[in-house]
Symmetry: C2
Subunit: 122 residues, 2 copies
DNA sequence: TATACATATGAACAATTGTTCATATGTTGG
DNA sequence: CCAACATATGAACAATTGTTCATATGTATA
């Protein structure tokens, strides 16, 4: 069923399972969706941001509190919160001089949970 | 209820909500777990690896097939597969010269799904 | 066993990223 | 309006990362 030895210009080896490649190609989501998905996970892929998200799972916190909790500078926390904000993972409200951050939706907890399940089952 | 203005040596601002910080500190998972979680998501945080995982959701594929599908070099695919292997996200079986890769468990699909839900709801 | 082919891997390089430092912005209280 | 403070942000720098290139490893077959 597989057509072997079709030379593909884009790849330095032979196309071994043409049918499979064509089948999967037809099933792949749009390039843009895959890019956005990777961008989302990239946000989760940093220890500081993971800690911030984890903390916000427990309570709404201001920037200073997070910095104190994680024993890190206010500046770095603020930079990371901006990234989390852009990814719509956290939201904020201002109360005077203080800005309070909290999780933007429940998906964050779900994604966390799936990650932990994977880690614990191995 | 909150003790304000306790100067914290680790943070260049005041500790605004001492109670909150202490409460959350008590709830935080072990440092190592958070590190591993971030490492896991880091693996998902690259377009090439996302595409590979997405492809393997549909079918078992060999390295050449994946390279042809994604229009990328055999070498880069192989490098990325090693990372996916180390994260226990894919497994492989050898059949002669050809090495076939497939998803290692169902969690991958679950994590994918949660990511897509987050992206689609905004 | 010699050749061809599929895959793996090390080194090098460009690109991206997280933190720090300095400073700007925004808000409150005197 | 000014001083103090919480937060935000731009530039710079070190560290990490993904790809390429060259080459090594492993397997089948002529």
């Amino acid at each position: 069923m597989n057509s072997e030895n079709d030379r593909d210009a884009s790849c330095d080896c032979n196309l071994i399972h043409k049918d499979t490649v064509e089948y999967v190609a037809g099933k792949m989501p749009a390039e843009e969706d895959l890019y956005n998905l990777a961008e989302l996970f990239k946000v989760f892929g940093d220890t500081t941001r993971i800690k911030i998200l984890c903390a916000l799972t427990e309570a709404e916190m201001c920037v200073c509190d997070i910095a104190a909790l994680l024993n890190m500078s206010q500046s770095s926390i603020s930079h990371q919160l901006r990234i989390l904000k852009q990814a719509r993972l956290v939201r904020y409200r201002r109360d005077g001089k203080v800005v309070y951050y909290s999780l933007d939706d429940e998906h964050v907890k779900q994604i966390f949970g799936q990650g932990l399940i994977h880690l614990n089952e191995k």
